[in-house]
């Protein structure tokens, strides 16, 4: 068993009476691809927000490589090496594609407060950004305004912005949301190659069951804020509770037909 890189202990977040995340303890192993699934409203995005520091938990803690990062503000968790993407496209629409990624790369360096040199002199960020753009396949659109990209390319750009700072853990919130089905395998392949080649950990929230089952090392199922099941893809697809709660009655019937 490899080391645990990211761990939550009894993480709970309430919005008034609604318990969006309810006593969730998850351990994510370094170098693994760990998926979190669950129906809409299961609390996956809130869970992401708690881990990345966008939201504060009502109770419970988050550990990264053994350090307690529960109270760290969001910009600090990124510097620790946790990159996080968004379900809803969240870019700088009036800046170019290159600039979006370049900024993400620049955020990691210490020169962002320098104001007397042209940003072009810090060519390592531009080089890094171009590398990333090539990785996600947006090189030829580098000069375009991010807001004018088609939806699928915006998803790729979003991924690029996570990659640019070279984080140890990538938290991807439905990276394929809204993408054309032809592009999905391509993107997932990319995610997988990043995970394998760079010794990175990927935490993935995804709706696409096929994708999840084929790429994940481990799967966590959430339902109505709480942890329903954890295990390998095989274990999860065999788990009765998961099938009834998440995949639904109809799915079970159809499975029976086969």
């Amino acid at each position: 068993m490899s080391d645990v890189i990211l761990e939550t202990r009894n993480l709970t977040r309430e919005f008034g009476a609604l318990v969006a995340v309810d006593d969730v303890s998850v351990s994510i192993e370094a170098g693994s691809l760990h998926s979190i699934i669950g129906p809409n409203g299961a609390g996956k995005t809130t869970f992401f927000n708690l881990v990345s520091g966008t939201l504060r938990p009502t109770s419970g803690r988050v550990f990264f490589k053994g350090d307690d990062i529960t109270q760290l503000p969001v910009h600090r968790t990124i510097h620790r090496g946790i990159g996080r993407s968004f379900q809803i496209t969240n870019l700088f629409p009036n800046l170019t594609v290159l600039e979006n990624v370049r900024l993400a790369a620049q955020a990691m360096g210490g020169d962002s407060l320098r104001f007397f040199r042209s940003h072009r002199r810090f060519s390592r960020y531009i080089e890094r950004a171009m590398d990333v753009l090539e990785q996600v396949g947006l090189t030829d659109k580098a000069a375009q305004l991010a807001g004018t990209l088609p939806h699928g390319d915006q998803r790729k750009l979003e991924l690029g912005m996570i990659l640019a700072p070279d984080p140890e853990v990538l938290m991807l919130d439905e990276p394929t949301a809204g993408m054309a089905s032809e592009q999905v395998p391509e993107l997932m392949h990319l995610v997988q190659s990043i995970q394998e080649s760079g010794d990175k950990t990927v935490v993935l929230v995804e709706h696409n069951m096929n994708v999840v089952m084929s790429v994940s090392d481990r799967i966590t199922v959430m339902h109505q804020g709480a942890l329903l099941a954890q295990g390998s893809p095989a274990e999860i697809s065999a788990d009765e509770r998961v099938q009834t709660a998440y995949l639904g009655e109809l799915y079970k019937d159809r499975q029976g037909d086969r």
């Binding site: 919005f15 009476a17 609604l18 969006a20 927000n49 968004f86």
Partner: protein, 525 residues
Amino acid sequence: MTTATSSPARRRSDWFKENRNRFTTLAILVFLLLAAMSGVERDDWFSTIMQGLSVGAITFLVASGLSLIFGLMDVLNLAHGELFMLGAYVGWTVYTRFDTVVDILVPLLILSAPFTLLPLWRRLAAAIGSTPLGRRWAGLGLLAAGATTTFVSVTRFPLVIWDPGNFAMSPSNFSVQIDLGTLAPLPPDTFGWPAVIAILATLLGGSLLALGFNVLRSQIDERTVVTRKHLLGFGVLIVTAIVLLAVKEPLNEWVFGLSTTWRFFLAMVVSVAVGSAAGALIEVALIRPLYDRPIYQLMMTLGVGFILIELVREVWGRPEFTMSRPAAFNGTGPGCPGEGLGGFFSGCSTLEAFGSRLRVYNEGFVILAGIVVLIGVTLLLKRTRIGMIIRAGVQDPEMVEALGINVRRVFTMVFALGSGLAAFGGVLAAPSIGLGTGMGAVFLLSAIVALAIGGLTSFPGAAAGAVLVGLLQQIIIRYGQSGINLPFLDEPFKPSPTLVPAAAILLMIVVLLVLPAGLFGRSER
């Protein structure tokens, strides 16, 4: 980002916990006020409170409109203070120079009459052709032609004899000077042309303008037909104008024969009407095109405020006016000052109560008017359908529109209502503080401070904030007379009256830093 999807059912204890900051702040504020009051001599405290409430009432009238507008459409109307000022000037004009109102009203009615025939212009506009560029130039050309015609014809009406300088004179003074020959305005019969031609030319001008605006409208709408209702509206406007023109002299005499109380009442009605109309016009013509550019909207209202000030300077000139209190609140002599709270109805200018002397107008009538507006608007919001729509719109205008309600029209109505309230505040304030082009900025600042303290979108918050600001200001003024013993000064520090608004602003900054959403405001949704 999406967080939880539903807004939760709150338990009572949660509610208290969430509002802890709010209660603490409120408690500290009350404590501070009480502590401040304890330093004031006993005889003074009642009148200080009443004066504070009076200033608070005027501030509230400005703040309430500001709050309604901001709540519903997210526009911080920085021209609101100038609408307040406009209300004061219009009210003053009706009060002291009713004759000018008739003179202005006649061409205005004629000019606006063609606008009632909207379907006609829409059909004509639709016939004009549909290339965007062509329509644009045609529309601008029509507007220019209309404006020129209007300008030439309107100056043929008797209103031209009202030189700005003349406004400063009382009607009697004015007629005396004319009799003496020291003042020689153009005689009213220098119509230039016969009245009929002037009227027709104005009608033409109005028609050209109406057509021009409709040509410039992007949507072509051919569905509408001129109905009897439209014709009726047109007829009423024209007939009113002609009748007014005919009965001008006797009407003026009759109005000047009324008591100042009645004239004050008339002034309130007219300035609220003018304020509302101006507000609606500003919203439709200038704010609406900018709904998707909020920062420009803010800049626009700022610019409109400056234009209103300059317009007032053009029309009324630069001197500052005073306005006498209406007769019902201006009595002196035997039986005055009135005794106790019953003195309110004695017709005296002052009354004695709780060991303090109060001015019936300032500390009685104004506060009363403020309370009436507070209750009236609260009822409007809570009990009527339009109030329901406003409350819903504050939260989610898109959903309201999706229910089949014309939200834009509601926006215009609320803007008009808010502007009307500000104008009402202006006319109420005029007898106690006088008129000047700077009055708007002063009260806008107070109103913004009050709103920020109370919570930008909260109507009760506007009232609470306004009262707090009013009280605080009066207490500071009172200390300005007696002095505060500060630990590090030898002599008591006597803040000058000019420093008064600064105290309220300081309070605002502190409150905003503790509670960014204000006392009653809802924090971010």
